[in-house]
């Protein structure tokens, strides 16, 4: 492993500024790492030519003194649900295999304008539906964190490819998208920092939709500072997304200055659920102690409908998805299975094009919206969702930020828990409530499980207060001092 791939964005930025190496060298080192870690299956499409070209452009800008910002020259992986002009975009679905967008998503365009160097498109759960990156048409992704039992671990999902790539030092950072935990849970499983901004902070334009009222893009990085730098480059007010707030955009890195003295840390008592691993519970307490030591004040808060969030999510998200995915009909792009009759063509195309989990969720979504069930399921779920959002608003009268675990247990072995969708859905139990309420939330690596797998702590902030979220995360990062490398890298280097 090259020294260059070990750097954080902040370190690389400073070194590039000091002309210690070029963006092209940095890109080259990452392309090599990307090739060396192909066994992880983290990328659906590698774009080394684009990376070298953009790195050269970055070097040229730097030579003229026109550096575009902190992300200029930074090797970045892009989740394969951001549409990229001229580069295949599949959302890891057979139905979009070979689809080459003629446009660039706002988020990936922002990163491009900020000078970031795209290495490739990362593997993910098909249409972001999953928590282990096992539903991809292009095969599962392996977590670079391994144990000595010979079994591969899942990287979490749905942004599993992004998480694996960043953890394996094949990319310095990656975009993720989070609908119910798809940035935060894989970040926790792979020992990374994953931030889901407030709903409406990042534009959804050009991002393949899963559930429109929940989807939100965010950065996946190896440090809190990097998270701030990358988020800065991703956000912009985009009039093409009608659900975006035209909120002022703060200087996120500047928010890391200062301390958290006097900050009220809400501890939601309902997050102590059955089935949470002992070490997860212990780590949570340690996290509380760290923040206390940094001058913050823990306060107990109550979110009574936490237990209903998952069921609510599994009505709302499939309902929206069933409608969002109606466009994949084999008419204008993507897979078509030929047939003489139109209905036949639709049914065969969609049966062949969608994987099992996607088909399952489309069916659930179609069912809960169908005549006679709409009020009982969809409207009911939106009411519970309103209750959940209201409870968060109450909690934030007492607290500035909330602290919980990110996931109830660490990364499990590939092949486990796969037969039972309900077992799989439990992964998102701590991340889903913030998604339903549209709140910013973040996972920070905080320690290792007894057998040596990363565990994350989860912070939830007030709407559009990513600054407090980042500052609090930094306090955890500093206290945790999480420096362990994934086994893959320890063995290989």
């Amino acid at each position: 492993m090259s020294e260059l791939t070990r750097l954080t964005i902040a370190e690389a930025r400073d070194a590039l500024a000091a002309k210690k190496f070029t963006a092209e060298e940095l890109a080259g080192a990452h392309i090599k790492a990307m090739e060396a870690t192909r066994d992880l299956n983290a990328f659906v499409t590698e774009t080394p030519e684009i990376a070298i070209e953009r790195a050269k452009e970055s070097d040229a800008r730097r030579a003229k003194g026109n550096v575009a910002g902190g992300m200029d020259g930074i090797p970045t992986a892009v989740k394969d649900l951001f549409c990229t002009e001229g580069v295949q975009t599949t959302a890891s679905s057979h139905i979009l295999e070979g689809f080459i967008p003629t446009y660039e998503s706002t988020v990936s365009m922002n990163l491009r304008k900020a000078g970031s160097v795209m290495l490739g498109k990362t593997n993910m759960d098909e249409f972001a539906m999953g928590s282990a990156n096992i539903t991809s048409y292009f095969g599962p992704v392996k977590n670079p964190w391994k144990l000595n039992d010979g079994k591969d671990r899942v990287p979490g999902g749905s942004s599993g490819g992004s998480a694996a790539a960043v953890a394996a030092r094949a990319a310095m950072c990656a975009t993720g998208s989070d609908t119910g935990g798809s940035i935060r849970q894989p970040a926790a499983f792979c020992g990374l920092v994953g931030l889901k901004p407030t709903y409406g902070r990042c534009s959804r334009w050009g991002m393949v939709a899963f559930a429109s009222s929940l989807d939100q893009a965010g950065p996946m990085t190896r440090s809190v500072r990097d998270s701030a730098i990358m988020l800065q480059a991703m956000v912009s007010y985009d009039p093409k997304d009608s659900t975006m707030a035209n909120e002022p955009i703060p200087d996120f890195e500047a928010a890391l200055k200062g301390n958290i003295k006097g900050l009220k840390i809400g501890i939601p008592k309902e997050y102590r659920i059955d089935g949470m691993s002992k070490e997860t519970e212990t780590l949570w307490q340690i996290g509380i102690d760290w923040l206390k030591a940094a001058g913050a004040e823990p306060v107990e808060v109550s979110l009574p409908h936490t237990k209903d969030a998952l069921a609510t999510y599994y009505i709302v998200a499939p309902a929206e998805a069933s409608s969002n995915l109606q466009r994949y009909d084999g008419v204008r792009y993507g897979l078509r299975v030929d047939a003489d009759d139109l209905t036949d063509m639709y049914e065969k195309t969609r049966a062949a094009g969608f994987g099992r989990e996607v088909r399952r969720r489309i069916m659930i979504g179609t069912y809960v919206l169908s005549a006679g069930y709409y009020d009982a399921y969809y409207v009911k779920a939106q009411k519970v969702r309103a209750l959940i959002a209201r409870e968060f608003a109450e909690a934030f009268k007492k607290a500035d930020v909330l602290l919980t675990p990110t996931a109830p247990f660490p990364a499990f072995a590939l092949g486990e828990k796969m037969d039972d969708p309900l077992q799989m859905y439990i992964n998102d139990v701590f991340t889903v409530p913030a998604s339903l309420a549209g709140l910013p939330a973040m996972s920070v690596p905080a320690g290792l499980s007894a057998d040596g797998l990363p565990l994350g702590l989860h912070l939830i902030g007030k709407p559009f207060d990513e600054e407090t979220l980042l500052r609090t995360s930094l306090a955890i990062e500093q206290a945790a001092n999480f420096t362990t490398l994934p086994q893959l890298l320890r063995a290989g280097s």
Binding site: S105, W205, G206
Partner: protein, 484 residues
């Protein structure tokens, strides 16, 4: 005058409700920046949004909202300050998203009223149930290839207003009058061009029949009827079909039907009907549409004078008959033309010339008022010439013929052709004297009591003066001379 259809078991009443789909007049589409113009090359007026590419999102066009609200105000309807866009989910190749963005539970406009002037002089008020905004679909072409259907998305995403009437209509004539009135109102407002041939106004017709005093029976919906005449025909044919069914011991099933004007029948569209469950839910890509009362009030203040108000004013201010006022206010352009003609002139004469003389020519030539070969200013001038006795009404008609050909100012025509009326008493007296002297027999006839011969003399004198003698003066002088 109640319309009814006589069946074997007695008289049947027809109950009709209309759903008008009116294309909103706007430059760009409802949720994308692509153009709306009619007749463009296939798939050229299509944005990535209209093609439902992955990740594309809708952004609403302010003008379309404004047009819907203005139409609501024009229909005297309640404007809902909060309305919601929902997705209507179904698969069809010309529906790229697999859903139509429409308004279902919460339309932007609620109940309103349309007043119809019936031929017998009565006014019928018809209720409007609602008006909502929605997207149009693309076009499927079935005749380009024997094995394939071609899809053109130019229309996909164009804004439509769906205006739903209450089941208040009771005859094909009322339905026709409603459609014509609706078109008039939309055109006055400039919110839809009302062009049924190009499909910018389409109509679904709900028809049921019943015996007097009954509640509503099962209705059928006849989809996409594209002219007023066809709507009227379709209603009659469908009503008769339903009556035959009932009287034959059968039942009417609620379904969607198609009107075939060539065969003169309605046909079931069961194939499209199959398993419809639209799974409406609020579109999560859009928030509820919230309007301010002040915004609505401002649009209301700027609304043009609408046909009913204009008609009443034409009657009170100009003293026109109901029929004339209704006809002149039927189209905004005609009303404007008329008011220009009538400016400072006898309004009845102006109405008469606009409706009868000009109207006949336009009808014959198939022209609209805006294509009139005679401008309103010139027609006004012509009436001015009649009123100040420069020319007679009869000469005016000749002048009008020339105006139709040349488009010239009537004063110029009168001048150059020497058509100015002779009002000089001496000249007319000479012509009268001459006529009497030349025709002693007829003069004697008059004197012996046959007054009818006067007309004959007038004709002679007019002929002698090239029609230019003032007929009133000729009459007066003739009676004086013959009587002496």
């Amino acid at each position: 005058m109640t319309y009814s259809i006589q069946g074997k078991t007695g008289d049947w009443e027809v109950v009709i409700g209309l759903e008008v789909h009116a294309q909103v007049t706007s430059d760009a589409k409802l949720f994308s920046g692509a153009a709306t113009e009619f007749g463009a090359e296939p798939n050229t007026q299509v944005s990535l949004v209209d093609a439902a590419m992955p990740g594309m999102l809708p952004v609403i066009n302010a003008k379309c909202v404004e047009q819907a609200v203005r139409t609501g105000l024009g229909l005297n309807a309640k404007i809902n300050l909060t309305s919601v866009f929902e997705r209507k989910n179904y698969f069809y190749p010309d529906l790229p998203f697999g859903y139509q963005i429409s308004q279902f539970l919460h339309p932007v406009v609620g109940e309103g009223i349309v007043a119809l002037d019936m031929p017998d002089g009565t006014v019928r008020e018809v209720g409007v149930e609602r008006l909502h905004l929605e997207q149009d679909a693309g076009k499927s072409l079935h005749d380009q290839n024997p094995h394939k259907t071609y899809i053109d998305l130019n229309r996909a995403g164009v804004a439509l207003m769906e205006i739903v009437s209450k089941p208040d209509l009771r005859s094909p004539e009322e339905a026709g009058a409603y459609l014509r009135k609706m078109r008039t109102i939309l055109r006055y407002l400039g919110t839809c061009d009302g062009n049924m041939e190009q499909g910018s106004m389409r109509c679904d017709v709900n028809v049921s029949v019943r015996k007097a005093g009954e509640g509503l029976r099962t209705r059928c919906e006849i989809k996409n009827v594209n002219s007023v005449r066809f709507v009227m025909q379709a209603i009659e044919i469908e009503a008769e079909r339903q009556i035959d069914l009932y009287e034959g011991g059968g039942k009417v099933v609620q379904e969607t039907r198609l009107y075939d004007p060539d065969k003169g029948e309605t046909r079931s569209m069961r194939s499209k009907e199959e398993a419809h469950d639209y799974r409406y839910f609020p579109d999560p890509d859009l928030l509820p549409l919230v309007l301010d009362q002040a915004y609505v009030d401002a649009l209301k203040a700027k609304l043009p004078e609408l046909p009913d108000v204009k008609k009443a004013r034409f009657m009170s201010a100009y003293g026109l008959s109901l029929a004339d006022a209704a006809q002149l206010s039927g189209e905004r352009e005609i009303a404007e033309y008329f008011e220009t003609v009538a400016q400072g002139r006898d309004p009845k004469l102006a109405a008469n010339w606009t409706i009868n003389e000009l109207g006949a020519v336009l009808n014959k030539r198939g022209l609209s008022i805006t294509e009139s070969p005679v401008s309103a200013d010139h027609l006004g001038n012509l009436i001015g010439l009649i009123m100040d006795n420069t020319i007679s009404s009869k000469i005016a008609k000749d002048v009008f013929e020339v105006m139709l050909e040349t488009g010239e100012d009537p004063a110029k025509i009168v001048e150059s052709k020497g058509l100015k009326q002779i009002t000089d008493t001496g000249a007319i007296e000479a012509a009268v004297d001459q006529a009497i002297a030349d025709n002693p027999t007829q003069a004697e006839q008059y004197r012996s009591g046959d007054q009818k011969v006067t007309g004959w003399f007038v004709g002679q004198i007019m002929k002698a003066t090239g029609g230019k003698a003032n007929p009133k003066m000729v009459n007066e002088l003739l009676r004086k001379k013959l009587g002496s």
